[in-house]
């Protein structure tokens, strides 16, 4: 722990029981902190999750029902009723599901309980991407320069030119990339606008356009912020989450290998400033797009992020503990100056999916799980041996997080941990993650949101035929008829010992 942290005695909490309204690895991760603070944890779960680690570990688990498993976890009234029945004073929504649902946050408050997160008004503001962007711009923070034709059609071309190049022309009514044009030179702007308008008309029956600054191979940088109910806001530095597939993050790290100390200070201060302007309370994340020395506000997530552990590793601060303290109306236990980072942390998301088949989700049963051992390793895992892996939920199974004194040490530790991690019974992306972390471009920190498109071989590289045959040779010995045929065949003089079936 690098930051001084105040301790509240068990008797000092305004609640003694926390309801965890989530599942998988995050339910278990929240449960660990709740119990470490001598509070009681109640976990809700759908029947399909009754064998999940968090449900097994919780002193009390309440089954919730729904037309589908996901519907159960989205059923606010049922969850609030469960919290009341269990005597919970506070609900931790985790991430996903109801975590950014303002109506749920309001209903929790109306029931006399505490929702762990910001106020419903802030959730609503940041949930509306257009309003959020306007709010950030109004407070003087950077958003990507843009021009909207509808604002004043007569001056659109001039205003578009003022945005700067390269820029992207988009149909106002568009979607799915249709009718979008990248313009790199002012001399072709006018003709590209004409072309985009005709395409917009053709595809969407609407020729109105807007333009925004285009960033080539951008990086995704986000900043962890934390606010209390007394107006204090701090940042806990940045995370880089540029390696993505289908706009979902795969690898996150902190600090970003791309930023200078002054850029880091600037982006972190900007994030804290946005949170301060919004009157932000509890943990949140401000996301930016970053490239060519510029960064622009993308959106703010008003909840705990999947990738929060990398921040915890380098700052020594338990973010769930701080969330509970803020929910208990405690002031932050530290100032900005108290927060320092040590070393480098990398998180790899282990998904039930097939990278070689376009990252299609996979299903099965977790027959064997062996987590690796090593210094600086943390594994947040949401499945246990014997548990079915279905398509009912998000395919993320676990997060493998490593901490090292610098990026290279963290990277080596990630490689070693990925090499040792075993999950049998359902195809996962583990060997793909190993190839990714081992890739020379990743080693150099040369990453951007199009990284996997630029290096498709990372996803498609097959196991060598020789390795495959050797694996089959070993596996075949576990098949009774193969083994029996060998044992019944001509015997050598020496008896064999030590074989297990």
């Amino acid at each position: 722990m690098t930051a001084p942290q105040r301790h509240i005695s068990a008797a000092g909490w305004p609640f003694d029981t926390v309801l965890i309204a989530n599942r998988g690895e995050i339910a278990l991760r929240i449960l660990k902190t709740v119990e470490a603070l001598d509070l009681k944890a109640v976990v809700i779960h759908h029947a399909v999750d009754s064998d999940a680690p968090a449900v097994r570990a919780a002193s009390k688990a309440i089954e919730i029902k729904g037309a589908t498993p996901v519907a159960a976890y989205l059923d606010g009234p049922q969850i609030i009723a469960a919290a009341r029945a269990a005597g919970a004073g506070v609900i931790h929504p985790g991430y996903g599901f109801l975590s950014e649902n303002a109506a749920f946050a309001r209903a929790v408050a109306d029931a006399g309980l505490t929702f762990i997160g910001p106020t419903p008004e802030v959730i609503e503001l940041m949930g509306d991407k257009v309003r959020a962007r306007a709010f950030v711009q109004k407070h003087g923070f950077p958003v990507a320069p843009s021009a909207i034709e509808d604002d004043d059609p007569m001056t659109f071309t001039e205003r578009a030119r003022a945005v700067g190049f390269p820029l992207l022309i988009k149909p106002s009514a568009g979607g799915g990339g249709k009718g979008m044009h990248i313009v790199r030179d002012a001399s072709v702007l006018a003709e590209e606008i004409v072309r985009a308008r005709s395409e917009g008309q053709r595809y969407f029956g609407d020729g109105r356009l807007y333009v925004e600054r285009y960033i080539e191979n951008p990086r995704h940088i986000e900043v962890q912020v934390l606010g209390d109910a007394h107006g204090n806001v701090v940042h806990l530095f940045e995370r880089e989450c540029s390696v993505q597939r289908r706009f979902q993050k795969i690898i996150e790290e902190t600090p970003s290998p791309a930023m200078s100390a002054s850029e880091r200070a600037r982006i972190c201060e900007t994030a804290a400033g946005i949170a301060r302007a919004a009157g932000y309370r509890n943990a949140g994340t401000v996301e930016f797009i970053y490239g060519a020395g510029e960064f622009y506000f993308l959106e703010m997530n008003t909840r705990l992020q999947v990738e929060h552990p990398v921040t915890e590793m380098v700052t020594g601060i338990d973010l769930v503990r701080e969330q509970l303290r803020v929910a208990a109306n405690e002031p932050l236990g530290f100032t900005q100056a108290d927060i320092a980072t040590q070393g480098h942390a990398i998180e790899c998301r282990i998904y039930a999916e097939s990278p070689a088949r376009g990252f299609a989700p996979t299903t099965g049963r977790a027959l064997k799980i062996h987590d690796g051992r090593g210094p600086g390793l943390r594994l947040d895992i949401g499945v246990t041996e014997g548990q079915a892996i279905t398509t009912a939920f998000d395919p993320m199974l676990a997060k493998l997080i490593v901490h090292g004194k610098d990026r290279e040490e963290a990277r080596q530790r990630a490689l070693s941990a990925l090499q040792q991690f075993v999950l049998l019974g359902c195809e996962t992306n583990v060997s793909f993650l190993h190839r990714l972390v081992a890739h020379p471009a990743f080693r150099e920190g040369d990453i951007h949101t199009g990284f996997l498109d630029a290096h498709p071989e990372i996803a498609s590289e097959p196991v060598s035929a020789a390795t495959l045959r050797r694996m089959l040779a070993i596996g075949a010995l576990s098949v009774r008829p193969v083994r029996d045929a060998a044992d019944d065949g001509p015997q050598p003089h020496n008896a064999m010992g030590g074989w297990r079936n």
Partner: protein, 154 residues
């Protein structure tokens, strides 16, 4: 007799022999000496064999010789269309007994928020549709079976 294993449609012929302090396992034309101190981890689930070795995990299917040779004799395994990935059935376009031509859409499935048409691999007659609208399924689940060519000709 050699045992038959497959991975993603590729078949391997395997047999093992005992040696003094190891097994000699022949996989097609290669042979491997496997001792009991190998670092692999194996999990067997019915006819499915999962093997982990040095950071790689692979799944093999063991084919019972009787079922394997039986099915290949009448060609029926090739006539069942298996799900390419887990998903949900959006529309079923055909009924049992219906004649279809190669390339006809049999059903539409949804996976990863994308709709995909499942098409007939050849001309034939629908023997069974294994799924209904709205039903979800795992990868390799049977979706529809085409009647064998012999039945169609008859």
């Amino acid at each position: 007799m050699r045992a038959i294993f497959s991975i993603d449609g590729t078949e391997y012929r395997v047999f093992a022999q005992r040696e003094a302090d190891a097994y000699r396992v022949h996989v097609d034309d290669c042979s491997y000496r496997i001792t009991n101190d190998h670092d692999a981890i194996v999990a067997v689930d019915g006819d499915t064999i999962h093997v982990w070795l040095d950071g790689e995990a692979q799944t093999f299917r063991y084919h019972e010789p009787v079922a394997y040779y039986g099915s290949h004799a009448d060609g029926s395994t090739d006539d069942t269309i298996l799900a390419p990935m887990p998903g949900t059935v959006v529309t079923v376009m055909v009924k049992a007994g219906e004649a279809v031509a190669r390339g006809d859409t049999l059903l539409v499935i949804e996976s990863m928020k994308l709709e995909t048409s499942v098409k007939a691999p050849r001309d034939g007659r629908i023997d069974t549709v294994h799924v209904a609208m709205g039903q979800s399924f795992d990868r390799s689940a049977p979706l529809a079976t085409l009647a064998t060519l012999a039945t169609v000709e008859a």
